[in-house]
């Protein structure tokens, strides 16, 4: 088992807590009607984005999904700008032209949340191909859901990554449901990871509520990719805490499904119990991070609400780099 330094433990907790606070707050604000459009929340899945992205550098790329806020935060995108983007403000990560489903920051190696299920697979092959040419040991990670695991693009991308021997990692975040459809029904095999052998790569299954398990599996896959060992498929099993999108009545869920998960499985709770009982971190140190995260999101929401919307002239800009 990889030994994490205290600083790394605190960083991991801060990232997960920031994502949770961000998502809980977007959930609450959405209910008041102040947030436009479609919003898909990552709460419950924090250990995945955090466990993987902690192994990455700014010149490593990730491709994300419509449920992308967690990936963005874990890859270093500014949560204040993200919140402004979700509110459709000119100060947002994408100047208000992308919204929740298209937050990106190429300077941080974040190739974008993606409104198309499975859209990121081929793109991350490209990023991994570019990394191969740049010869600096860069890697690309494609996060995708159980729904996307059945899309041709993901299957094509996994095949291509193996054929071209790319430094790519495919992270199947199996959160139980594609919209309202259970992955136990839509995925024809027992595990998404079982498909890895069909593409000539290792397949790994990991408990997505356990940050340490994710971090360990991610470290192995990233190391393999960096060293030229080729792609890996990692299936992260967990469940999301909220609906497919905000406003989803979630009548497809089992009784008390989420409540039970929150009490018995929650990645933040589990992390806290483990590191405080081992004595590696004091509870008070985590409490400080909780307060920091709350303050950060308070500030982000207040700023997002106050910030200006894009101007009429912005409608026509940035379609092309140049267009006579």
């Amino acid at each position: 088992m990889t030994q994490l330094s205290k600083a790394q433990l605190l960083q991991a907790y801060r990232t997960m807590r920031t994502i949770r606070e961000f998502e809980e707050r977007v959930h609450a604000e959405f209910a008041t009607g102040t947030i436009p459009g479609f919003v898909h929340l990552y709460a419950g899945e924090e250990a995945s984005a955090t466990g993987f992205c902690m192994h990455l550098r700014d010149d490593d790329y990730i491709a994300s999904t419509h449920r992308g806020h967690g990936h963005c935060i874990a890859k270093g995108v500014d949560p204040v700008e993200m919140m402004a983007e979700i509110y459709g403000k000119a100060t947002g990560s994408c100047r208000g032209k992308g919204g929740s489903m298209h937050i990106a920051d190429l300077s941080k190696g974040m190739m974008g949340a993606n409104g198309i299920v499975g859209g990121g697979g081929p793109l991350i092959c490209g990023a991994a191909l570019a990394a191969k040419y740049k010869k600096r040991g860069g890697v690309g990670i494609c996060f995708f859901g159980d729904g996307a695991s059945n899309q041709g693009t993901i299957l094509e991308a996994m095949n291509l990554a193996s054929v071209w021997d790319l430094p790519a990692i495919f992270v199947a975040e199996n959160n139980g449901y594609a919209e309202s459809t259970s992955s136990t029904w839509s995925v024809a095999c027992d595990n998404i990871a079982d498909r890895a052998s069909a593409f000539g790569m290792p397949g790994v299954i990991v408990d997505g509520f356990d940050f340490f398990a994710v971090h360990e599996a991610a470290g192995e896959a990233v190391r393999r990719a960096r060293e030229g060992g080729g792609p890996t498929l990692v299936e992260v099993k967990f469940m999301r805490y909220y609906g497919h999108f905000e406003g989803d009545a979630e009548t497809y869920r089992g009784p008390n499904e989420v409540e039970k998960l929150r009490h018995e499985k929650d990645c933040l709770l589990r992390f806290r119990n483990r590191v405080t009982s081992s004595g590696e971190v004091q509870a008070s140190e985590l409490d400080v991070i909780d307060k920091d995260a709350l303050a950060l999101i308070d500030r982000a929401v207040a700023k997002a609400k106050a910030d200006p919307k894009p101007k009429a002239a912005d409608l026509l800009t940035d379609v092309y780099v140049s267009y006579p």
Binding site: Y61, A104, P122, I124, A127, A130, G140, D318, V319, P324
Partner: protein, 336 residues
């Protein structure tokens, strides 16, 4: 120094010169070298019609064969472009856009805008268009209009070897995603092409023939069929001005409108199906911006609203030819 080479050779030369100039240029596609993993020779094909033949021996690390997996590798080209490379991916026949269009129109075309200007995707997708090879319904379409409709894409349709080289070089150097449409019946066409590297700017139509009576607006292979028609029309006393658009996005509106101001009579020739086509687009442009100049209704010469047929007797009818163009020009010229 110029010498005569074919449209196909001009494309190959543009790729070679840009790969020599810029190490971030990659070429990828099905059989772009050919023979990958097989017991025989590498560079066995150079693409299905040999357009990329000879590049692999010169740049073995930068000419990539791909599985038949268009979503996978077209998307990979787009991702690599967003990550700093300049890939030139070959979509063998434009008809195959159906299996990879998401990566082109939802990803490549929208990155810059959706990401607030903070991304660029300098990818070129080379693709074969057009009817006339008896290749039937799924290997013969134009579809240029479909790409032209999408904000964020640039669409290039060279008609000559000179333009094929200069426009492809511009496409590779351009920082936006470019769909580069190569007409399969033009590959063997020869013409003067300078040996040195040169780029032709986008959005500059070419007036290939000047005339005072009727304006013919066209692009791609139809430039040549229009030229054929004008020779006979000239004998009958009708002087046509033929405009080759070269790029349908961006579109050189000024050259079209200036010509219409001079002639007042217009025929738009487009190998595509007629509805929501480049022909209907140009016609509406002229109707909106040059109504006062018009002396006759605009005529469109296009394929019919059918798939491309197989039998030669039908395909020859499907493709707009010099006779149809001549008929339209005569009607427009005679109109009072």
């Amino acid at each position: 120094m110029a010498r005569e080479i074919s449209y196909q050779q001009a494309i190959n030369e543009a790729l070679r010169q840009e790969m020599e100039r810029d190490p971030s240029v990659l070429v990828m596609g099905e059989d772009n070298a050919g023979g990958e993993g097989s017991p025989g020779e590498r560079d066995a094909w150079g693409g299905v019609l040999g357009v990329t033949k000879g590049l692999y021996p010169k740049f073995p690390d930068r000419v990539l064969d791909t599985p038949i997996s268009e979503s996978g590798f077209i998307g990979a080209a787009i991702g690599a472009a967003a990550a700093g490379m300049r890939p030139v991916a070959e979509l063998m026949f434009v008809d195959f856009m159906g299996v990879c269009f998401d990566q082109i129109f939802n990803q490549a075309a929208k990155f810059k805008y959706m990401f607030g200007g903070k991304a660029q995707t300098p990818v070129v997708i080379r693709t074969m268009v057009g009817a006339g090879l008896r290749a039937a319904g799924q290997h013969s379409q134009m579809l240029v209009n479909v790409f032209t409709h999408i904000p964020g894409l640039k669409v290039v349709c060279p008609a000559t070897p000179y333009d094929a080289k200069g426009l492809l070089i511009q496409s590779i150097r351009d920082n936006d995603p470019v769909i580069f449409c190569e007409h399969k019946l033009l590959y063997g066409l020869k013409g003067d092409v300078p040996e040195e590297s040169y780029a032709i700017p986008f959005g500059e139509a070419n007036v290939v023939r000047e005339g005072k009576d009727v304006t013919i607006v066209t692009f791609g292979r139809m430039v040549h069929l229009s030229n054929e028609a004008t020779a006979e029309l000239a004998k009958a006393g009708i002087q046509c001005e033929v405009i080759d658009l070269r790029t349908t996005s961006p579109l050189d509106e000024d050259t079209v409108l200036e010509s219409v101001a001079k002639t007042g009579r217009v025929v738009v020739v487009d190998e595509s199906n007629p509805r929501c086509s480049i022909a209907s687009d140009i016609s509406s442009l002229i109707a909106m911006k040059a109504f006062g100049d018009l002396k006759a209704p605009i005529e469109m010469v296009t394929a019919p609203h059918t798939p491309v047929p197989f039998a030669d007797s039908l395909e020859d009818l499907y493709i707009p030819g010099p006779a149809k163009i001549r008929g339209a020009v005569e009607r427009v010229a005679r109109y009072h």
